[in-house]
């Protein structure tokens, strides 16, 4: 049976969308209010899905406490109540939620057991959300 297990986490962070390669006017045109100079914030809702066989002894794809520990230490503690623009991971990339999704996928892929990570989904608000399942996995679909 193909089974995935998903857990939801919460963190709040600020960001400003501004691309160095664009002029100030171009940035305002592209990003609108998100380019306001002092930034703004969101309560992000993060869903992390892991996959694999359901272990017969435990009935689990992965122990939730272990998943919580990895996501807590490598993602939630890093970004909660932080300014995303100040994080070295966003030195080159604009901290859109698309990029945040990819960054979190990359952080978790190295911390979780190989092949366990299925998908990262982030809600920036109730009305917009982003999903990333990695390039290789997407190719298999």
């Amino acid at each position: 049976m193909k089974v995935t297990f998903t857990r939801r986490y919460h963190f709040s962070a600020s960001h400003r969308l501004d691309c160095e390669a664009l002029t100030p006017q171009e940035n305002r045109d592209v990003y609108g209010k998100c380019n306001n100079p002092h930034g703004h914030g969101h309560n992000y809702r993060l869903e992390v899905s892991v996959r694999g066989p359901v272990d017969h002894a435990t009935g689990m794809v992965m122990n939730m406490a272990d998943l919580d520990a990895v996501v807590g230490s490598s993602v939630v503690e890093r970004f909660h109540l932080a300014n995303l623009n100040m994080d070295p991971l966003f030195e080159q990339d604009v901290p859109t939620t698309e990029n945040l999704c990819r960054v979190i996928h990359r952080l978790l892929a190295v911390e979780l057991p190989p092949g366990k990570l299925d998908r990262v989904r982030i809600e920036e608000t109730e009305n917009n959300f982003f999903e990333y399942a990695g390039e290789a996995i997407r190719g298999e679909r």
Partner: protein, 139 residues
Amino acid sequence: MILLTRKAEFSAAHYYWNDAWSAAENERVFGKCSNRNGHGHNYTLEVTVAGEVNPQTGFVVDLKQLKDVMHSQVVDVYDHRHLNLEIPEFRDRVPTVENIAVSAWERLEGRIPGAKLERVRVYETPDLYADCFGPEGAR
């Protein structure tokens, strides 16, 4: 192809325990969930079916029929029951949310008229769910 999802709810009790292990090992692996007095949840079941839209009815599947199957096969069986003590498949299968999704899949598979079972999702809490895509699942 169109995907269609129907939702239903049930409330049940469970605990996590593996008879092959000592009490200490059960507590180490399962934590508070290993308390033999059990605890409970309001589960949400989401069943997604795949099919073509029938040109005459405009339906992928008759929603009433889908609801009846979900209730007769899963909701009426699990609702207000102790999963470990009263449901046969959980005698030798720990009733985690993963295994509830697998068991609901097995109960529903082949019983939905005119459509293919695509995904069974079971929420144990709003922050926790499992998806079962079946043996031939898309993932």
